[in-house]
């Protein structure tokens, strides 16, 4: 028994572990884009000549570059001076027929610089970003800057080429135009850091394979999902409409337990518990509260029991009772398990009399199997939908999920009472009954009143007993 009890939790743990290990969590080993890269060997800021900025300016620039590196941007800043304006150089080169702009020249210089200096988080990563600023000696207001990026640098968090261009033109150049070179670089890097952290990243574009997969998922798989949902709905509808024994006469001899079971649609815990409560009420079972707080039932065989179902319950309990007539220990804890054969017997009896649908179990099995198949298809659909970023695929999964949950809920709660049973129940209700019979019937269909331990610090005894008989705890 211990082995059986440990098997299921072990199986659950095994499945959960398998699920954890099978996710991409342990496969994806790329660099964390937000992990600090402060230990890069390249210095944060270099200027040529060294005394281009004051010490305070250099420290401030190094600080802001470090801030960017702290959130994963492998950035360096290089500032050089040239004896003359790059515009003049550009104009001169234009005489040969090629017309590079000042910006294009600095861009090429930056890219060449990046190729020469290893600016990257690790060897071969190719993920560095270099900001090159060229300051003409004769006129600082004509300073030019350019970002050079490694092949794997962008997009990085919220940073894209567009963001870098915006930083360059909207933030850095206005400061350069007023001859605030260090402030311009500082502000530009600060904006870059802000965009890195808080700007919304670029949308991932589908590759060709993803596009193909998206087409397949959106058309074929979604179509299949739709067909599956319609088929499941059709199966449920067919079962609802179907009643093979509707033309037969109703058997009008119903006990209150049978009437209660027909109202509930099953012989469930309510019916068995109501039978136990009835036996306690008539004195056939006595309740003893032990000092430890446990409840024990004692069989009083001298008390006659009129109802056959209640009698069956008494007989089953007698088998579990000790010589002293006490039902305690494991039998008491498993009382619903112990009595379930009696409940099954009543259920079979009602089915034999066509009061319950005989095919209900089979029909429920079919619904569960169809739902499981559809749910498995939804799980299968998950992978291509995620890989192809297919919204239609997700919508199909959602649709399947709703359909499966709805059909399983219906199958779990559907009444097994046939139309013959409904007629018999209606006739039973139309006839006068003794107070005892009505009380049994009410105890079955309104049992929730006897297990709601709401209101007050103490749990009333009748609720304690009912809850314990249903293995729900004392209250």
């Amino acid at each position: 028994m211990t082995r059986t009890r440990l098997f299921l939790p072990g199986l659950v743990l095994l499945l959960v572990t398998g699920l954890l290990l099978s996710t991409p969590a342990f496969v994806n080993a790329e660099r964390d884009p937000l992990a600090p890269v402060v230990d890069m060997p390249s210095p944060q800021v270099q200027t040529i000549p060294d005394d281009l900025f004051t010490n305070e300016q250099r420290a401030s620039l190094a600080g802001v570059v470090n801030e960017a590196r702290l959130f994963g941007v492998p950035l360096v800043v290089r500032v050089i001076t040239m004896p003359t304006s790059l515009q003049t150089l550009s104009d001169a080169t234009a005489l040969t027929g090629v017309v590079p702009t000042q910006q294009e020249i600095v861009q090429r210089m930056a890219e060449t610089w990046l190729a020469d200096e290893a600016v990257e988080t690790s060897e071969g990563a190719g993920d560095g970003i270099l900001l090159l600023v060229v300051v003409p000696e004769n006129d600082h207001t004509l300073s030019t800057a350019a970002f050079a990026t490694g092949p794997n640098a962008l997009p990085l968090n919220g940073l894209t080429e567009e963001h870098l261009d915006r930083v360059l033109h909207d933030v850095i150049y206005p400061f350069f135009a007023n001859d605030h070179i260090a402030t311009g670089i500082h502000s530009g890097v600060a904006y870059l850091s802000y965009d890195n952290l808080f700007a919304v990243p670029a949308r991932h574009q589908r590759s060709d394979q993803q596009q193909t997969l998206n087409d397949i998922t959106s058309i074929a798989f979604t179509g299949l999902a739709l067909i599956g949902v319609i088929a499941l709905g059709g199966l449920v509808f067919w079962i609802r409409r179907r009643d093979p024994h509707s033309g037969q006469e109703a058997d009008q001899r119903l006990s209150p337990f049978e009437a209660g079971a027909l109202t509930r649609g099953r012989v469930d815990t309510n019916v068995i518990t109501a039978a136990l409560l009835h036996l306690i009420t008539i004195g056939a079972l006595r309740v003893h509260m032990q000092k430890s707080g446990k409840m024990v039932l004692a069989i009083q065989e001298s008390i006659p029991v009129a109802d056959s179902f209640a009698r069956d319950i008494m007989q089953r309990l007698a088998q579990e009772a000790g010589e002293d007539g006490l039902i305690q220990g494991a039998s008491m804890r498993r009382i619903q398990d112990v009595l379930s054969p009696v409940g099954d017997h009543l259920q079979d009896s009602l089915a034999t009399r066509n009061l319950f649908n005989r095919d209900a179990r089979v029909e429920t099995t079919w619904v569960v199997l169809a739902s499981a198949a559809l749910a498995a298809f939804a799980v299968f659909l998950l992978m291509p939908s995620m890989m192809a970023m297919s919204r239609l695929g997700l919508a199909a999964m959602l649709m399947i999920g709703i359909a499966v949950v709805a059909s399983l809920l219906w199958a779990a709660r559907r009444s097994w009472t046939s139309r013959v049973g409904q007629r018999a129940l209606a006739e039973w209700q139309a006839r006068p009954h003794s107070a005892t019979d009505l009380a049994i019937f009410d105890t079955i269909i309104h049992q929730h009143v006897l297990i709601d331990a709401i209101g007050g610090p103490d749990v009333p005894s009748h609720i304690q007993i009912t809850r314990r008989l249903r293995a729900l705890g004392a209250g």
């Binding site: 937000l34 990243p201 991932h204 297990i451």
Partner: protein, 501 residues
């Protein structure tokens, strides 16, 4: 069936209680039914259904919950304009576009960057829904960068307009009022209407609750989900079904989607299920155990489903979320050393100190009295006294009625949440204290509700004792008149007219 017959003969209860003192003992030990037995009114089943409709049973409670919701909403809306602005409000207002972008789960909003990694999304989604209902734009506020000052953040558009800020605050005011209504429901379930009402009033007038209900933050959403988790936990333990188990798991996942910590509650629940699986062999017990064992899976699935950022790599990215939060707390501790929490004991002390001296419902009312009387003194709070009494009482009930009861489930969930906060808190910010207030409200409901029941019993029994004594010791004149009667009534005799007492 006469349900009164079901009352078992308790060994502690004298079976023939003829003397008043014996009857008093019997009364003390005998639990009185708090619900009416099943009434038999006619043979028509529909009539009997009407006798026990849920509406009839719960209508007073629903009305009371609505009343407390209205009171709390009024208090919150009145305090709304005067609550000081907090930069953190911009974060939730900024991310309100999450609500709109849920329809594009593969879009740029849900990619891996600091905004998505910083906080789970549900608080922002709720804020977005609130703004959208009020007709406000969802992307009008930039992100407040705490590394920079107000000037920088103003330049980056991170300061919301008054209109947007008030709209965000109104959203939270409604959620705060829902928390109060939930506090009533929880207190009502744990004890009675008096307990529930006191719990609701405690939360309504708690200064920290009012502050957090009038700032555009997500803490009230967390408080609401915690309340719903406790209530659903109660419902699940009352009658364990898969529907209720799934609902509980979904709420745990949604709670995690606000502030991560409720997700961790699923682990003690699974442990609880494992315990039951090993202890009990009944089919019902097995079902109960498996429902609890499934909680981590249901909660995690809900958490992942609610956050498209996690979809590409659920485990790793969830881990990233937790790691980011932990590192953020460490950074905050370094930036504000006075807020650094050094140990769980330190955390416990901070909760006690803050909720006694800084923000306390009782201190607020005592201060009001001091001010009225002209006493120049700063009041301290005593909220923890009834809360501690309630906690002890709750634990006693768990020991008395067993571990698989609704009260035990609520106690487990409350204890696990408190332990998570105490063990996990590395930085002491005022808003981290709100879940403790939620837990305290449940404990206060227990102590006040139980106290009220005891008081009512005492009063009623004294009345019945006095009545009984008067009957047995009549006035001398009456006694003289009755000498000619055949026999004095039996001590057990109670006229039908007085039975209701």
């Amino acid at each position: 069936m006469n349900l009164a017959k079901l009352t078992p003969p308790s060994p502690r209860v004298p079976r023939k209680a003829s003397k008043p003192s014996a009857r008093w003992k019997a009364f003390r030990h005998h639990a009185r039914p708090t619900i009416n037995p099943v009434a038999l009114r006619g043979r028509n089943i529909e009539e009997r259904e009407r006798v026990l409709t849920r509406r009839d049973r719960f209508l007073p409670d629903i009305l009371l919950a609505l009343l407390f919701f209205a009171i709390s909403l009024g208090v919150n809306l009145e305090a709304l304009p005067s609550t000081p602005t907090h930069p953190d409000e911009t974060r939730w207002l900024n991310r309100s576009y999450y609500a709109r972008d849920l329809i594009d789960p593969f879009g740029p909003t849900w990619q891996d960057y600091v905004t998505t990694r910083g906080q789970p999304p549900l608080g922002s989604i709720v804020m977005g829904i609130g703004l959208a209902i009020q007709g406000k734009p969802l992307d009008s506020v930039g992100v407040w960068d705490f590394a920079y000052g107000r000037d920088w953040n103003e330049r980056m558009g991170a300061i919301p307009t008054e209109d947007i800020r008030l709209a965000g605050r109104r959203t939270n005011a409604v959620i705060g009022a829902l928390v109060v209504a939930s506090a009533f429901v929880l207190g009502r379930l744990l004890t009675n209407r008096v307990g529930g009402s006191l719990a609701a009033l405690f939360v309504t007038f708690h200064p920290l609750h009012i502050i957090l209900s009038t700032q555009a933050l997500s803490d009230q959403t967390l408080a609401l989900l915690l309340m719903l988790i406790f209530i659903t936990g109660w419902g699940f333990a009352k009658r364990p079904t898969w529907t209720r188990a799934i609902l509980l798991g979904i709420l745990l996942g949604l709670g995690g989607s606000v502030k991560l910590t409720p997700l961790l509650l699923s682990i003690p629940l699974a442990g609880f299920g494992m315990l039951r699986l090993l202890v009990d062999r009944d089919r019902a017990a097995r079902d109960y155990a498996f429902m609890l064992l499934a909680q981590p899976a249901i909660a995690f699935a809900t958490f992942v489903a609610s956050y498209p950022y996690l979809w590409p790599s659920p485990i790793r990215r969830t881990w990233d979320l937790y790691a980011f939060r932990a590192s953020e707390m460490s950074d905050q501790s370094a930036a504000w050393p006075s807020t650094a929490v050094t140990s769980p004991l330190d955390a416990l002390g901070r909760f006690g100190g803050y909720l006694t001296h800084t923000h306390s419902t009782s201190a607020r009312f005592i201060q009001l009295i001091f001010d009225r009387l002209g006493i120049d003194r700063v009041a301290s709070g005593y909220d923890f006294i009834p809360a501690a009494a309630g906690m002890i009482l709750l634990l006693w009930w768990v020991c008395r009625f067993g571990f698989w009861t609704p009260r035990a489930m609520v106690a487990l969930l409350m204890g696990a949440e408190a332990a998570t906060l105490i063990l996990g808190m590395k930085t002491d910010f005022y808003r981290y204290h709100l879940p403790i207030i939620v837990i305290m409200s449940g404990c206060i409901a227990v102590s006040i509700g139980a106290g009220w029941t005891a008081l009512v019993r005492l009063t009623m029994h004294r009345q019945s004792l006095l009545t009984s004594l008067r009957r047995h010791r009549p006035h001398p004149a009456t006694r003289r008149q009755s000498t000619s009667s055949s026999a004095s009534p039996s001590p057990d005799y109670v006229p039908q007219r007085e039975a209701s007492q």
